[in-house]
Assembly symmetry: D2
């Protein structure tokens, strides 16, 4: 029996996952929005506090991923490429500002499992994002004046829709800080054995080679829509800020786990 995650198998090829380092390159559409401190606090466990700002981010990301330990992520684009939609709210962890992802959806099984073991609360969804085109009129070029859209559906319900109309090129340093802050997740595996406690810990990912490339900013729209399967639609947006289009990349090498207060 070999492998690194379920299912284990004689050669270890059936495992959904292989170990880090995991490499990520992505194109993101991100929109700043604000909620009240009470609203943000209600999305955090009791042992995490709201950060200094109430600035949040809604992000659509189109990822390519690779792992030194699994050539299939590159050899089969169906395995390594995927899209995600999520929100990040400000918190504090390990003595500094951090991001927290209360809700996230993904369209790829490997990324779903890779997230679950880190504490990302990933659910399956359908994510669509405007691609920049190189030439012609089939879509927008990556240029000021053009509009880029992201949509998220899950369980057949439209959950989130955002758009960014580009007004200026910016430097990577002008991207919103929440895009690059370390994130604190809650790794949690429920138990159905009354004598076995759930696996439960806070976890901060260890990232290296975090980089941002060509970035643009602009005006934005953002909607959260209701579904009986979600609470994203309950969030009260008090202000929608700027929108961004950017190329980003990073490598995940591991995580630092911290005790979490039992629910």
């Amino acid at each position: 029996m070999n492998g690194w995650s379920l299912p284990f198998s004689p050669k270890g090829l059936a495992s959904t996952l292989t170990p880090p380092p995991w490499h990520y390159s992505g194109e993101v559409i991100a929109v700043e929005f604000e909620m009240s401190r009470e609203q943000i606090a209600a999305l955090l466990p009791d042992d995490l506090e709201v950060g200094d700002s109430t600035q949040c981010l809604a992000i659509f990301a189109d990822w390519s991923s690779a792992a030194d330990s699994d050539p299939r992520l590159l050899a089969d684009p169906r395995r390594g490429q995927y899209k995600e939609a999520f929100i990040v709210v400000p918190t504090r962890a390990d003595g500094g500002p951090a991001g927290r992802v209360p809700y996230i959806w993904v369209d790829n099984e490997v990324a779903h499992s890779r997230g679950q073991i880190q504490g990302f609360p990933k659910k399956l969804g359908e994510i669509h994002m405007t691609k920049a085109v190189a030439l012609g009129r089939g879509g927008p070029k990556r240029e000021v004046g053009n509009t880029f859209v992201g949509t998220l559906s899950a369980m057949g319900r439209l959950l989130m829709r955002a758009s960014v109309t580009l007004t200026e090129a910016i430097s990577p340093a002008q991207l919103p800080p929440l895009l690059a802050l370390p994130q604190v997740h809650t790794r949690y595996l429920p138990s159905i054995d009354p004598e076995l406690a759930p696996a439960h810990a806070h976890s901060m990912n260890i990232l290296t080679d975090v980089a941002a490339g060509q970035a643009l900013a602009g005006t934005a729209t953002l909607e959260f829509l209701p579904s009986e399967h979600e609470e994203l639609g309950d969030l009260g947006i008090t202000r929608v800020g700027k929108g961004y289009l950017a190329s980003i990349a990073m490598t995940l090498t591991g995580a630092k786990t911290m005790p979490a207060k039992p629910f």
Copy 2:
């Protein structure tokens, strides 16, 4: 923060799962097959032994599921209904014969997560099964002489195909024992923190109200096909036995966890 599994949310409605008891009603197409003891042993962790027989089962199941704690499983068929394809091999656990599911695929997120926390090594797949029709010529009635087919694809590859041509009605007692034996799973959550061990334990589900309804048996075919993402296609079938069509039901109330030898 409320809920029972990730993601936690203010009202607890975002959680993929709610706690047991979980109720299942299903229609199954099952095919007996044999492999060598060596082949079966290679699918078991070191601390589980091959059972007395080398009879295995390939199963396609069309499930309806409910939970006392989540009315949405019934209110939205997209949430509670799903299909699975899996194989069961014979082992021993807790002093008696048991089944072990080395590989299983499912087409529903709730069932995927519900399986993962039990130790079912569930992956996502596309499962199709012949439905019995009530009247007309659009499909086969549930009658002797008719053929029922199951197919499984994952990552765009056809992985398993089975057919059963019914030759006789049987009593539920004549169904293969592996269909109802307790199963021993390995609950496993990898860790990317070198200071945190993976969650790792064997787990036997506690089932009540296990029942089988109308059952038929017949001749069968079974194929496992290759994929670079799986090892199902490596399994050497030495004999295909009978096939079965049956209605089954059960309630899962919890699990009994047992130590597992570290990999």
Copy 3:
């Protein structure tokens, strides 16, 4: 080059379709509803009039299909089985009452193409329907007191949701007439050559062996929801009537074409 529909190929196996007769066996959840005569008229071409009644039907159907000319519909359940959601409004054609399907969604390519050539305005969608269970508590048995639900999503938007809570067994003769009335479709293939007119004709299917099996009726709910890709959500339901659960079957042997007034 052989085949019966695109794509043609040396052996004729690549064609999406083979010729009728086509056989259908299905389970339907149907809900009666009324709209104003003006609303119904707005869903009909100028040369079709509103029928005597303003009673309409919303239908979710779980089909098994077969063709004498294509054994693959039965051999591969992925090819022959599918679900549909649609509405039927009352009109008149060929001297008598008829049904008209202004909107219909299907989750199977063969059924999509089979519909298009008949004039069914089929679009792709995701349809989920409560299945009756044989035993256990995973879902409802086909019995008075139980509730059956249908949902339709397309392009990631929830478009239609219906439920029926069964109150009585009925005879097939008590099913709503629109379920079995002949239907008049408009077969239409647009042209992008200004010198070539679109293919355009009304078409009534020729059905044989129309049959209904076990049927139940009950109270119902019905919702149409908005989407920028559809006009279903614009329909003004003035009354929701009874709901039905029934097994039905039929064989389609051909069609009778009639001239249509150019748009």
Copy 4:
């Protein structure tokens, strides 16, 4: 009743299609291959002859599309963006060399219907293609030395897989001619009314603004795999040539229809 294709509706918003001009911008992975003249002839109708060369192309394309008449193609990326996989073989039409697409698969309903009315024999499939990344190690940059992969599955079967390992930048003029040759399709709508002939004509698209951007070439691999639903796997590749990665664009303004010999 308004609209341009089925379904017609009061406002015309339900139609799957709106009229040309249609604009396309895409990224393609293309692989040259050869088959015997007999093999190519077997893929053509009797009234089309094999071209001068036996060079063919297998193409994976990631498209963005727009229409002057439908802003939703840009406003909702789910509507306007899609992927296709297809092969092109050499023929002659309208007095000159032309391409013919015997088989093509697409993952978007609008593109499926848009193709059908032109005579493209489009079927639904799942297409995955390596995306070039801007930075980081999650995927390959668009640079010499890197490998790009395309995969096609339909009906749960892997049908085609290609890879290109880039060895040199080339000028657009060095791209294979079949990529830009006019194509001759067969517009065909079967009839189930014995008194109505199928709609049947050859059709050549009228394209403007055909352009190619940054292009690279390299070594390639190509596989066609078997499925009971297709004949792609029967094609006998006698030689695999170069592979290409390129940005292309065009506008379709209409078509010129020509009589086709009845099958």
